[in-house]
Point group: C2
Chain length 326, copies 2
């Protein structure tokens, strides 16, 4: 995907501008604290429920900002992207609300729920083989046809848009000491790290051990290549982006890894205490807090619950071994 020079790493002013730009169509999601969940995690946890965002995920923030920026730049016409799901649906809705068409390249093995969501918002799905090469080729064809590419995470407007969730979290609970978000391509954590710079909280990431490319990249000092993800957290299988990695390296305290079984248990905890079905990607943050009492015990923590796009039947299947079937 092309990365024009003017699309650089955003700063906190860009996040505030994004918030002003998208406020009319993006939902101010609730921030929920539950004393029972606090007891289970031995900290004071405030969950920013982006699973209750429009399209069921925080991705609608970045997509809305990206589409609005295109309009400001006079770049009209259809957009194209690749996505395993949540970004695709988010871009489809943001485009639809702006009177544009959206093309979404999706791997053939995408979750049916996520394919349906893209289509429900008027997006056109283009299936490809589940490899990076096939995905890039399919997108390239769409761009050659004149569609404007919108990268799912390695894009300044997307990063700034995702950061707006943290602005709302700060407004709701100004006294937090730490904030944690899931890490996939890095749009949410990079936006969060930038948005919180003036706030003085420590920012942590959570990553499935089967898709711990960002943790490995931090270790290595540069982005790892040819990573093969293997995790139930279908939203976190992407390799961290260039801009995203730069922000993470500078501003994130650590990226903590959790197993798929930790994720399953955290999904059940979220249901038990919050009455929310959250997708595996979202549950990584609760799992990471649970696994690291040395870091989190007794602290006031904010967690961005990234999405809720999991069919109840899939949720049951995923959590059965962790007691979710009861």
């Amino acid at each position: 995907m092309t990365r024009p020079m003017e699309v650089d790493i955003p700063d906190i002013a860009d996040v505030h501008l994004a918030h002003a730009r998208i406020r009319a169509q993006v939902r101010v999601t609730p921030v929920i604290n539950d004393p029972g969940l606090d007891d289970a995690l031995a900290c004071q946890l405030h969950c920013k429920c982006e699973n209750l965002q429009r399209t069921g995920a925080f991705k609608f923030r970045g997509a809305s900002n990206a589409i609005a920026r295109l309009g400001e730049d006079g770049r009209h016409g259809a957009v194209a992207t690749h996505s395993s799901g949540n970004h695709g649906a988010a871009l489809a809705l943001a485009a639809q609300l702006d009177g544009r068409r959206a093309h979404v390249v999706m791997p053939e093995d995408s979750s049916p729920m996520k394919v349906d969501a893209v289509r429900a918002y008027g997006g056109e799905v283009h299936f490809c083989a589940p490899t990076n090469a096939a995905r890039a080729a399919a997108l390239e064809v769409l761009v050659q046809e004149g569609n404007i590419p919108v990268h799912p995470y390695d894009d300044a407007a997307i990063i700034a848009g995702q950061g707006t969730a943290a602005l709302e979290l700060e407004q709701a609970v100004p006294s937090l000491e730490m904030v944690i978000t899931p890490v996939g391509g890095g749009g949410l954590i990079a936006g969060t790290a930038i948005a919180t710079r003036a706030w003085g909280v420590s920012v942590y990431g959570a990553e499935p051990s089967g898709a711990a490319d960002t943790a490995a990249s931090l270790q290595l000092g540069s982005i790892v290549k040819d990573f093969s993800p293997d995790t139930i957290a279908d939203g976190l299988r992407a390799i961290v982006g260039v801009r995203n990695f730069e922000v993470i390296r500078q501003s994130v305290k650590a990226v903590l890894t959790v197993s798929d079984d930790d994720i399953r248990a955290a999904m059940v905890l979220a249901w038990r205490h919050l009455r929310l079905l959250i997708e595996p990607s979202s549950a990584t943050v609760i799992a990471a807090i649970r696994n690291n009492p040395d870091l989190f015990a007794g602290r006031r923590v904010g967690a961005i619950i990234s999405g809720g796009n999991v069919y109840p039947s899939d949720w049951l299947e995923l959590t059965r071994s962790a007691g979710g079937g009861a």
Copy 2:
């Protein structure tokens, strides 16, 4: 259950007092509007999500107020009630937070989730046969033993507490024209009707056609007796209370009935558009709006989503015929 003279029908000042009293421990639940759900229902719907209340239902409001009132009156010691579920769990937690024990008489066929919830909050469950007589006898024994009875709905403190959800709804969306709530024993709708008297909205109730004792009682002009409920909405099987009926008769425009199939379809709608699993009782309000476009089309409507205490596996079973299994 005894009804001392001083426990009369509350007024709007009682609801405001209740709100001040319980504010520290009751969650200000989110109010969510979704344009996709609006399209599906052809109105502007603002959902007050009491399914995200502590204990998973609005009942925690009334229970918290009742316990606080007992404390103010110097009535210390254990409490007792009967409940098919949500009131029992709510009273158990409110009692626990006040350092009291709670005894809950439950029919043997109560949902296991609701039994577990009472116990999770430290409540003691006393099973009885699933008849009004057995329930009354079991409660009477507990009261003879010195426990203080707290009726699930026919009680001024409970009604005033339930009304606090409507106060928050008014604060969040002052421009509503109509408010609709489910009707079981009538605590929520009576509290809502009282809380909204100065607001000038029209209040409607929604009742399953298999437990339409309130609609029938309105028709008759007095409370029907010996009603045998048959509905999947397990939270709405109670017969309307005396105080509750009085308020409904005076202040509620109409109680609309919906079939169990309407309820199933509404549960799926809530999932599809809000990403919330709501229990059948809660879905009655969405079903009633959907069934009555003559009343609701084009209007700004508030709906109190009363509870989310349904296991994902039970939700799937209940909604399979309505497309919830996908």
